[in-house]
Symmetry: C2
């Protein structure tokens, strides 16, 4: 079998998840991991794959079919995404929702100039959740869509808590409010405030002698991050944090309720995820879009794409005939 040759740019949680996902897809192989660290300091799991410096990426242009961009959305991808898309077919998980249109344009220009495909904003949100918002709205044009996240760790909110004076370490869980989810599932199309949809639970390891009351206040009143939510702050030890909060579970729900016909018959469409490992699942989504990018590139297509542009069959290792016979 001809294998799809994958490169990984950035070896953090997502990059490691991509490596593990490649091992679970027989039609793929990892060729190289690219890092900004000293390559000799980075140990990977895959035999026969190289570890190289990010600056040496171009030397592998003919050895790699798809480059998985596993950097962060805040500062890495806006620069690296368009740059790498000029020379490689790329997949990324760019998730700064507000900046997606601008990012799409930049990747599109670079990828078209280089004759490459760049699929952006892949994962579960944006990604699988986006697809479900789109399908549900297309089928039921009259209705309301709700997205709930959690229970799961928000990296951004955890970082914000860690920046508070007197905080040594912390983790933050986003928790959907069950009664709100139930109201949405009933089809009543409720108007829900930010506070009514999600709770925020913080587990905080304080510095020795820190003012716990001051920490709690600082967190609960933090603009943008916590002030619009009901937030709980629980102080724990570093050992408790490691023992009870080292996994990265996540998940959530996309629910659309809408109506049809003259009598307004009600319909509820719900998509939900319950994930033991957020980065491993995200990486698993990324890697099946690598298969789609490979096929599109082979067909001579170029430019930026999102999950909305990719025919679902392109994601599967099965042939169209197998899919029609087995899954339709």
């Amino acid at each position: 079998m001809e294998k799809i040759r994958i490169g990984i740019a950035g070896y953090g949680n997502i990059g490691r998840g991509v490596e593990l996902a490649i091992a679970r897809n027989e039609d793929m192989e990892l060729k190289a991991v690219f890092t900004r660290r000293d390559p000799s300091s980075v140990k990977i799991h895959t035999e026969n794959a190289a570890v190289m410096h990010m600056d040496d990426m171009l030397s592998m242009k003919d050895e790699i079919d798809i480059m998985m961009l596993c950097g962060g959305s805040a500062t890495d991808l806006p620069v690296l995404g368009p740059k790498i898309a000029a020379d490689f077919n790329t997949i990324d998980s760019f998730d700064t929702h507000a900046r997606i249109p601008e990012y799409f344009e930049n990747v599109d220009k670079a990828a078209k100039a280089g004759g490459k495909i760049g699929i952006i904003s892949v994962g579960w949100d944006p990604g699988m959740f986006s697809l479900n918002r789109l399908y549900a709205e297309a089928v039921l044009p009259q209705g309301s869509t709700y997205t709930f996240w959690g229970k799961g760790v928000s990296q951004g909110h955890s970082d914000a808590v860690r920046r508070v004076d007197g905080v040594k370490n912390a983790i933050q869980y986003t928790v959907p409010v069950e009664t709100a989810v139930d109201r949405v599932r009933s089809g009543s199309e409720p108007k829900l405030s930010t506070r009514e949809k999600h709770l925020r639970e913080c587990y905080v390891v304080p510095e020795e002698g820190a003012d716990l009351q001051a920490i709690e206040n600082a967190i609960k009143t933090m603009p943008n991050y916590f002030d619009e939510y009901d937030t709980t702050v629980t102080f724990i030890t570093e050992e408790e944090l490691k023992a009870g909060h080292s996994k990265m579970p996540h998940g959530g729900f996309v629910i659309r309720s809408g109506n049809t016909g003259e009598e307004g018959n009600k319909h509820i469409i719900e998509y939900s995820l319950k994930l033991d490992s957020n980065p491993e699942f995200t990486a698993s989504v990324l890697i099946c879009y690598a298969r789609a990018a490979y096929r599109l590139a082979k067909a001579g297509e170029s430019g930026a794409r999102t999950v909305f542009d990719i025919a679902p069959g392109l994601l599967s290792a099965k042939t169209p005939e197998e899919l029609r016979a087995g899954l339709l």
Copy 2:
């Protein structure tokens, strides 16, 4: 706005649902309904749309962009599907799973010869459920997928009960077994027999003086339809049937549980539908695929397609820019 001009071939439950769905999509208009009955005997809801005999369809070739094939899968579509696809872009809900590969080939040949697009097997199963089986399996190659149907009316099983000696009228509900659904949701990937997954509930109006015990036995032991299920038979009056069982609700679940990484982290993907009206929802899915067929035909494509071949963005009335900014 240029509207997509729709024809409906067959004016039963699905055909009427399509008419109602067109009224809820601003970019579409109904041009004509085609029937095998006397057209003067068929009353439709839409003003300014024609009712014509099926034999006169070709006279409308230049007036209709997409023909919605709303006949049955058993005898109508295998003949009509390829025949009409030679002259019109078509959408159908062909749902005889075992015969899909053969039907696809026949529509494909006819549509290619005529330079038309034919999207087959659209609806929710096959259709939305198929998409979710595919997406979930592509993301989690190691795992198990389960489809549960109901609670909802099975037309085929209701018909089978009505054919039993002494039965005047009847309706059959397919009911998923809750404990089985819960076991699947737990991620344990259980092996489930047919009997463990679904119950069958029959509501039967007997002929006067009929042998009720004989009816019940005949139903419960009917091969293929009921013998492999736990079946309940409840005798009711014609009035009770009309009062309590005249709606056509349905729904179900597609659940995949699988694992990733070296430790086998578990993930559960669940898609569920709760539908007040099975035909209206099915028709709503069909009509958004008409939009996709229209766009593909405009782009010069031809041949048969399934939901697996259609990029999700083609289903939405929104532009790609609007979708990226609003739903991604």
